[in-house]
């Protein structure tokens, strides 16, 4: 394995940024930390859990899929060589799950082309990044098991770097990296991981809620309770690393000219399931919330979940950002309470 002195990191990322579009944790002027295009001044390692997993790299908020010019159709597939530096292992699992879903039975080329050209560098978590982290419950952290090109372990003054792919190895071929004995590195990583697992509490209510959902034993009142207060902002879907639903629409600029585009969508919106006749199989907010949470905790696809627990990766962002506190954690606890 390789190591890198912490003081040399910025220089390394800067060198990468000359060849790749690097997205890295960035501290903005007002204190917020987000994934943004690498800039020396704003690059930060003190970033905890950024509000959004950068899924827009693979599935932009809005994306033109084809253009029509004078009644002729041109497909638009855009991608560039990108490095995602420092995503958390929960987000790595989110990306694995989303990629499986987007390529399993039909290849979504708009997504997969971008994915193929992205290099993923995970920053392993030394402990919970805030009070809603529950990756140890969903088997998606604190350390990534697969999918990454490189994974960094923060050892204080330096990083130990695990290589996950040939592409990752290439990245380490030049620069101020030093070799470390694999056995010693492995031991250090083991200690790091054990401490992190000890510090991130397992949320047993999630398991119990999954059991009750499977047995059809979750009380309908749970959904009515949450449905009554949901403000239908769709934020839970937008911050979720495993939500990839989109809506497709056309924009005509002149007769015979225009674009077809897709944009992020959310299953909490009524129109998401409304049929052409006007009939809506999910006619109210309670049933839409039920669908959303069952999708994460009950109706996930075995091959999509990539050896984790379910369709939720335990990042806790829905609990962090829902204005009326309807996140996976709150829902699981309410199901168990009833």
């Amino acid at each position: 394995m390789k190591t890198l002195a912490k003081k040399d990191l910025k220089g390394v990322v800067k060198a990468w940024a000359e060849k790749y579009h690097v997205l890295a944790p960035s501290r903005m002027a007002k204190g917020d930390c987000i994934f943004d295009t690498f800039q020396e001044e704003s690059f930060s390692l003190d970033y905890k859990k950024p509000p959004l997993f950068p899924k827009a790299v693979f599935l932009p908020h809005t994306e033109v899929v084809f253009e029509v010019k004078d009644n002729k159709l041109h497909e638009v597939i855009s991608a560039r060589n990108t490095i995602l530096f420092g995503i958390r292992s929960c987000d790595m699992m989110g990306l694995l799950q989303s990629t499986s879903f987007m390529t399993r039975d039909r290849d979504d080329i708009f997504y997969s082309t971008k994915k193929e050209r992205a290099t993923i560098i995970v920053m392993a978590c030394p402990g919970p990044q805030n009070e809603t982290c529950f990756c140890t419950t969903t088997f998606s952290g604190p350390v990534a098991k697969k999918g990454f090109d490189l994974m960094f372990f923060d050892m204080g003054n330096d990083f130990i770097i695990e290589t996950g792919s040939h592409r990752g190895k290439e990245l380490l071929s030049s620069g101020p990296f030093t070799d470390m004995d694999n056995k010693l590195a492995g031991e250090k990583i083991k200690t790091f991981k054990e401490k992190a697992i000890r510090d991130i509490p397992v949320v047993d209510e999630v398991y119990e809620a999954m059991r009750r959902l499977k047995d059809g034993a979750a009380d309908q009142k749970v959904w009515e309770h949450f449905g009554r207060k949901c403000i239908v902002c769709g934020g839970c879907a937008f911050v979720c690393p495993t939500c990839t639903c989109f809506n497709v629409y056309d924009q005509e600029s002149a007769p015979g000219n225009g674009v077809r585009a897709r944009a992020w969508d959310a299953c909490l919106y009524g129109g998401f399931t409304r049929e052409a006749s006007g009939h809506n199989p999910r006619p109210n907010q309670a049933s839409r919330l039920k669908r959303r949470h069952e999708h994460k905790l009950l109706y996930y696809n075995e091959s999509d979940i990539q050896d984790s627990l379910c369709g939720c990766v335990g990042c806790g962002r829905c609990s962090d950002y829902c204005p009326v506190h309807i996140g996976t954690l709150e829902v699981a606890r309410e199901i168990v309470k009833e």
């Binding site: 007002k30 009554r228 403000i231 809506n247 919106y269 006007g278 204005p323």
Partner: protein, 528 residues
């Protein structure tokens, strides 16, 4: 708002009236919902059964346009039962005897007759509000869009002062502003009678200050016209030209046929907008403006917080930021405006506007906004207003008598029409109806009809109905729902296919000149 949004988290009681908060101010609505879960009380006064009704401890459904009577009735009870804040009234207010004398006529029985609210419910409501420790009044257009809008607002203020629910954290009167920058537009003097920071045009010292700053003489010291007045003047030929920015009166103003006539009577119409709105389509000249994401500057939100925004995307075509367009027009008209950037404009705002003096661009770059009044650069901004004293000194009670709507139902036009908004669309739909998911969520104009009325008129859910007032007629899909009381129909002004302002009454409040969007008389029939 006299309070800050964060103060919702500590209030014990919310009196929400004329605000569909979860739909129109969802992030404030969600704070009310969360507060309910920690045990706060919610008192709702609204004719419609809005989503907050599901959380209310008490929901009073008054007849449309009877707000002054209802609030006077609550004050009557607070005084009769000795529940008002005598200390506050004594130390902080004046005019109590007049208030007492006016509200003494609004006994629960009298109010029941006017408003339809059962006397014992009104008593319960008055007690709940009066004895709460920290109570906030929350209102929006349901209070203001009446011919008695000014009276309604004064009466809310009377109630808060009488019970001492103002001037402390989480106690106050909170009109929720409907646009991200309508507070800012008013603060900047986009009103006919004041310069920025509400400095009167009629004040000679203020006039001199602005003349010196702008290097000119002879600024007009008489108030100009409101939008409502302008349309009347245009129709009469007294106004020859209008320059309309970011406003769509062909959809948003009452009695559309009359507005169309007014705009057609102009010799010259300029419209500056981000899309070719219904109004822009009538213009002689259209200036394409940049959208919020295509420019930088500041917005002042509902809690008086000035916040900076940065340009995120390039403008399409020839679209430019409003300030640049205005500077060019001014230069061509013979008065060069030499601002180099929004920061430069802000510098002038700081120099000329006492309440904004400390809100500099430099400070805004480094924080999440500053709330006015903020008189100097060391000042942290003001979270809530009227601590220790009102800006005018003592708070004056301004008692009002109940006055009915300008147009009440009769035998022929036998329904109240009340208008409003829905969650998915914004005003005249210029932006939201061009946004795929929002349009998908609410693609069709609708009219809410009470099931009893629907049955009587043979209207089934989803039927096309025709709604007619003395001014016009629209067709829309019936939504049969108990959300509206009997003899009331509700619709929105979002849809050009069924522009509800063809129906509304252009009668307006004598002071604020705000039209009575919230009530007029219509008849309803099923389309065959």
């Amino acid at each position: 708002m006299t309070n800050s949004i964060n103060e919702f988290e500590d209030a014990d009681l919310f009196l929400v009236t004329g605000s569909n908060t979860t739909a129109q101010h969802p992030l404030i609505g969600s704070r009310i919902v969360n507060a309910k879960e920690r045990g706060a009380k919610l008192l709702l006064i609204d004719p419609r059964e809005i989503p907050l009704a599901g959380f209310a401890d008490l929901h009073l459904r008054q007849n449309i346009g009877t707000d002054v009577a209802v609030l006077n009735g609550m004050m009557n009870i607070a005084i009769e039962e000795d529940l008002y804040d005598k200390g506050f009234v004594e130390e902080r207010t004046e005019g109590f005897e007049q208030l007492k004398s006016t509200v003494s006529r609004y006994t629960p029985r009298v109010v029941e007759k006017i408003s339809g609210i059962p006397a014992h419910d009104l008593e319960k409501a008055a007690r709940m509000y009066a004895i709460a420790d920290k109570a906030m009044i929350v209102y929006a257009m349901g209070i203001t869009q009446h011919t008695t809008g000014t009276d309604n607002v004064k009466t809310c203020a009377n109630l808060a002062m009488l019970t001492g629910h103002i001037g402390r954290p989480s106690t106050g009167v909170n009109p929720l502003r409907g646009q991200n920058n309508v507070q800012g537009a008013c603060d900047m003097g986009a009103l006919p009678n004041v310069y920025s920071g509400y400095q009167p045009v009629a004040d000679p010292a203020i006039k001199k200050k602005f003349e010196e700053a702008w290097g000119i003489q002879g600024l007009d010291d008489k108030a100009g016209l409101t939008i409502t007045d302008m349309m009347v003047a245009a129709r009469k030929g007294e106004i020859k030209s209008l320059y309309i920015m970011g406003e769509n009166p062909m959809m948003s103003d009452p009695d559309t046929s009359d507005i169309e006539h007014a705009l057609s009577s102009l010799e010259f119409l300029v419209v500056q907008d981000i899309f070719l709105s219904e109004t822009a389509a009538k213009a002689d000249v259209v200036f394409p403006a940049a959208s919020f994401a295509e420019k930088e500057g500041t917005y002042t939100n509902t809690e008086r917080r000035v916040q900076i925004t940065k340009k995120a995307v390039a403008s399409p075509g020839q679209a430019r930021p409003d300030w640049e367009i205005i500077c060019d027009v001014s230069r061509l008209a013979g008065y060069p405006m030499n601002y180099s950037s929004p920061a430069d404009v802000m510098k002038e705002i700081n120099d000329l506007t006492p309440s904004y003096s400390g809100i500099t661009y430099k400070r805004l770059e480094m924080c999440h906004g500053l709330q006015w009044p903020c008189p100097n650069e060391e000042h942290p901004g003001t979270g809530y207003l009227h601590r220790d004293r009102f800006s005018k000194g003592l708070g004056t009670f301004l008692p009002c008598e109940f006055k009915p709507l300008a147009e009440v139902p009769d035998e022929e036009y036998d329904f109240f029409l009340t208008t409003g908004r829905i969650y998915y669309h914004y005003h005249t739909g210029t932006m939201t109806r061009r946004t795929s998911i929002l349009e998908r969520e609410a693609p069709v104009p609708f009219v809410e009809v009470n099931p009893d009325d629907a049955k009587r008129l043979g209207i089934r859910n989803g039927d096309q109905v025709e709604v007619t007032s003395r001014r016009g007629s629209i067709k829309a899909r019936a939504e049969v729902t108990t959300r509206v009381p009997k003899r009331v129909v509700f619709s929105t002004f979002h849809y050009y296919e069924a522009p509800v302002n063809l129906l509304t009454n252009a009668a307006f409040d004598p002071v604020a000149k705000i039209p009575e969007y919230k009530g007029c008389a219509v008849k309803v029939r099923r389309c065959i």
